[in-house]
Symmetry: C2
Subunit: 188 residues, 2 copies
DNA sequence: ACCTGAACACCGTTCAAGT
DNA sequence: ACCTGAACACCGTTCAAGT
């Protein structure tokens, strides 16, 4: 006869780093960064908060790093059809959508020291520009200009800096800025 | 004979909103946002933490809003000599310096709903572009493109997204991006 | 190996009380 | 009006203990 598992482990897939980070992201997206606590995260995973430390020994620090990595890691520019301008335009739109979907982690993306995350994104943008014929230096500068713009604009959108301003069409405004940067890169 | 003040009030100027926010900014700049607590702030002001609530009834929320306002409020573009391009270039440099000096508040600037702070900055940039002859729409888009770039790039710098990258000259890289945006605005 | 329970030091905030 | 002291609910994290 099969041994009945303890109540604590009843029919639940075991905890894992990925499952923890996904649950955390779900909390942040739904309730905001301020409500992400180890205890609440434990509840969401149907586990005591302390169990999390077994999978993330560095605790909450490691959890937040994981969120940044999950959101900011480069979805490489799709090397599909179109010239490099179209490739970058498309990447910018996708990356912005990604940031806005997980707006709660934006403050972490912005200031957590996490070289790997944004570094990879910058590198792949640089590569697109290098293949487009820009010098090494111009490609590196351009990659950061575009990445900086996308992140900064997403931040402005999230804050909704309007107020006195009439209703803003953020989509077209964002696109206008992207065109500005890309056109600038085209005629160097 | 002059009455001796109580120990608690000994020769100390009374608490005030401004003094509180300055002390908080000092803590954030020196030790980071994570170490800004009401109790520590009270210590720095030589007062019990609870006294702060008398001047900031909304508590820590109001304190953080105050920090954002103090750092992000528009230092209006200096209407000095030079064409509008020079004016914007100078403003961008100053604003970046301001953000980097108070890097600890960047995550707050990025995501705290605080319309007044960045709204004023965006408005004065828009005005410069409007007077330069851009259409209302182009001026509004351009103002956000520049502001977004400056904030986003400052964020990239703070994170030090390098790592695999050779030593980066952030100053020239930042300037290159500013030129990119401003040149784009010039030849619309 | 994986999780729990109790404990510790520390938060933000309230409220009645002092002056 | 301005500040204090005690208290409350809630943090992140440790550590020994369970299975």
């Amino acid at each position: 006869m099969v041994r009945q598992p303890s109540v604590a482990a009843q029919n639940r897939e075991p905890l894992s780093r990925d499952r923890i980070i996904e649950a955390a992201l779900h909390i942040v997206d739904g309730q905001g960064l301020g409500r992400l606590t180890m205890r609440r995260l434990g509840d969401a995973l149907e586990v005591e908060a302390m169990a999390i430390y077994h999978h993330l020994p560095r605790g909450k620090e490691e959890l937040l790093d994981g969120l940044v990595a999950h959101v900011a890691v480069h979805p490489a520019p799709t090397r599909a059809a179109g010239d490099w301008q179209a490739v970058l335009r498309r990447w910018a739109g996708d990356y912005r959508a990604r940031l806005l979907t997980h707006a709660g982690v934006l403050p972490l993306v912005v200031t957590r020291r996490n070289p790997a995350a944004l570094g990879g994104t910058a590198a792949s943008l640089r590569e697109v520009l290098r293949q487009a014929g820009l010098t090494e230096q111009a490609a590196a500068d351009g990659a950061h200009a575009l990445l900086g713009y996308v992140i900064g604009h997403a931040a402005l959108e999230v804050r909704g800096s309007a107020a006195a301003e009439e209703a803003v069409d953020w989509d077209t405004r964002f696109t206008a800025g992207v065109d500005l940067v890309i056109n600038g890169l085209s005629r160097r």
